[in-house]
């Protein structure tokens, strides 16, 4: 009876199918596949709610595979199980921050597109206005006043275009934060597309070329240069920043997907991905084109500046050594100051008429800009010139004082030291 009882329980137990077998390799592959899926979901996530659900799924993944952590620590080489989960969590936090930032900025992409379109329209109207202003500039050469007015309006036009193009660039990059390296490839493609749609590189090139043309056709005065130098330096710095970002975006758009895997965050299928094999090369060529016109702008601006300054010396009849940059200008002026001091010539024409009336009044702002002469070097030169003036003032001053003292002595002698009238004798009583 007892045997029968045992058989009743043991036979079904032995004949029951064993639980499904699983290979270690399948376990490892399953973990890797689920981790990859979660990373891909994070990469394409656009809402914080979606990212929250991925966070829960990461916790589920960790719980599901925790019993195999010892095996996975060895199998997932070079990462361990906990490192793999930690990496996913870090990606989740990073993605959440990025999406949250875009959301809280309150700048929807559609609004940005509208803003970019509006800015682009204004830029086009400024371009039309620029053509008209260049025409006016040609016509108004006869009258100095109208010429100055045309130059002022054209300068303002170019500066406005400069601001607008970089406002467009800011609008394109703003939603993606400062660190472009953390932006998904699919978003970089979107940026590249917007840059292309807004024709950004061509417009940057046009603005730089307009400035070159402006320098070609305009006779500038000393005080005009400080603003132009500032404009050039700001433009060049912003272009450098834009170029770096464009290179990053273009490299990402052109990068081929890893073998056997879709590109990070990229769309798949017939309509997906707009990777262009030559995008990086094309971007590099466009950037080089802009670089060359920027170089020409710099060359002409600097050439006009030092040429204008040389002309001031020539017009004042003062011959100094040739100069074409800050160091050679400083050296020429110092040499001239030294020669004046040694020769005892009258320094007044140089100090008063040229340095104080022209250089210090009209050219100082331009000269004190970094990359020209610089504030410190200008102050040192001004001091050297002032010393020259001081020495001559001292000698003249002493001569004047001596003369005045002599005249005063003479007046005193002749006026106040006249003989006193003799006291009349007392009448005899």
């Amino acid at each position: 009876m007892r045997r029968l009882f045992l058989l009743m329980f043991l036979v079904p137990a032995l004949s029951a199918p064993s639980p499904a077998q699983r290979s270690d390799y399948a376990l490892k592959s399953d973990f890797e596949q689920r981790a990859r899926t979660l990373a891909a979901r994070l990469d394409s996530a656009s809402t914080t709610e979606g990212i929250d659900s991925v966070r829960d799924d990461i916790a589920r993944l960790e719980a599901d595979f925790a019993p195999h952590s010892e095996f996975l620590d060895r199998a997932l080489y070079p990462l361990t199980f906990s490192e793999s989960v930690a990496r996913l969590r870090a990606l989740q936090v990073l993605t959440y921050d990025r999406v949250y930032l875009i959301r809280t900025q309150g700048l929807k992409l559609s609004e940005l597109e509208a803003r970019i379109n509006a800015l682009t329209g204004r830029l086009d109207s400024l371009t039309a206005q620029r053509d008209q202003l260049f025409g006016e500039l040609q016509e108004s050469r006869k009258s100095l006043a109208s010429l100055r007015e045309a130059v002022r309006r054209l300068t303002a036009n170019l500066a406005a275009k400069d601001r607008l193009i970089f406002a467009i660039v800011d609008s394109i990059f703003l939603p993606y934060g400062k660190d472009l390296h953390q932006v998904a490839d699919v978003q970089k493609e979107a940026i590249a597309q917007r840059l292309q749609n807004a024709n950004v590189v061509t417009r940057v090139y046009e603005i730089a070329a307009d400035n070159v043309k402006f320098l070609d056709v305009t006779q500038l005065q000393g005080k005009d240069y400080a603003g132009l130098i500032d404009q050039y330096q700001a433009f060049a710095a912003r272009w450098t920043g834009l170029k770096d970002k464009m290179t990053d975006v273009a490299a990402s758009a052109a990068a081929p997907p890893a073998a056997g895997a879709p590109r990070k965050g990229a769309r798949t299928g017939a309509g997906g991905g707009s990777a262009q094999p030559g995008a990086a090369e094309s971007a590099a060529m466009q950037a080089a084109h802009v670089d060359s016109v920027l170089e020409e702008w710099h060359r002409k601006l600097i050439g006009a500046f030092w040429g204008g300054l040389r002309k001031e010396f020539t017009q004042a009849g003062i011959t100094v050594g040739d100069f074409n940059d800050g160091p050679s200008f400083a050296s020429s002026v110092r040499a001239y100051v030294a020669s004046l001091a040694a020769s005892k010539q009258d320094p007044q024409p140089f100090v008063e008429n040229l340095w104080k009336q022209k250089i210090d009044r009209d050219w100082r702002d331009g000269l004190t800009r970094e990359g020209m002469l610089g504030r410190t070097e200008y102050a040192a030169l001004d001091r050297a010139v002032s010393e020259l003036s001081k020495e001559t003032i001292d000698a003249t001053f002493i001569a004047y004082i001596a003369g005045i003292l002599a005249i005063a002595a003479a007046v005193w002698y002749f006026v106040f030291r006249k003989k006193k009238p003799a006291v009349p004798a007392a009448p005899a009583e």
């Binding site: 064993s18 290979s23 390799y25």
Partner: protein, 151 residues
């Protein structure tokens, strides 16, 4: 001192230096098998463990056709002793190789399935290697035999 005494003294000094240095308790075991696709040139390569070998001889032995394994996905696992276990779909055997200088020398060909394996996989179960196929087929293998069968 006699010659024999000189010889004895020299032997005492030199003999310990002539013995072979060996390291004990080496564990060669891979934590997980590698699944390797046979290339068109009949070669498998494991990047992680830095192993590359031709498998034409195995194909010839198992299927009597040295090109039969092209494109096939083979399972390879090294056990704790350092033997390589190789098998794959349609295989009737597990091939156990020992590593030699630039060669893998067959240690034992273990017959495991007369009808051929369908979707085999190795698991490291020290001191043995577990071979599974589907939900019910399971063998525990040593470097030269099957040590346990479970159906």
């Amino acid at each position: 001192m006699t010659y024999s005494q000189w010889f004895a003294a020299a032997a005492i000094v030199c003999l310990p230096g002539c013995s072979t240095l060996s390291l004990e308790q080496v564990d060669y075991g891979w934590p997980v098998e590698s699944v390797l696709t046979v290339s068109q040139s009949n070669v498998i390569e494991d990047v992680r463990y830095g192993l590359r070998t031709g498998v034409g001889a195995v194909a010839q032995e198992e299927f009597q056709d040295s090109t039969a394994l092209r494109g096939a996905r083979l399972r390879l696992l090294r056990n704790t002793e350092g033997y390589y276990f190789l098998t794959g779909p349609r295989f009737k055997h597990v091939y156990v190789f020992a590593a030699g200088p630039s060669t893998l020398v067959l240690n034992k060909s273990i017959p495991v399935a007369d009808a051929g394996l369908k979707s085999p996989a190795f698991n490291q179960r020290p001191p043995y290697v577990e071979l599974i196929d589907g939900d019910t087929f399971r063998r525990l293998l040593s470097s030269d035999d099957i040590v346990e069968v479970k159906k």
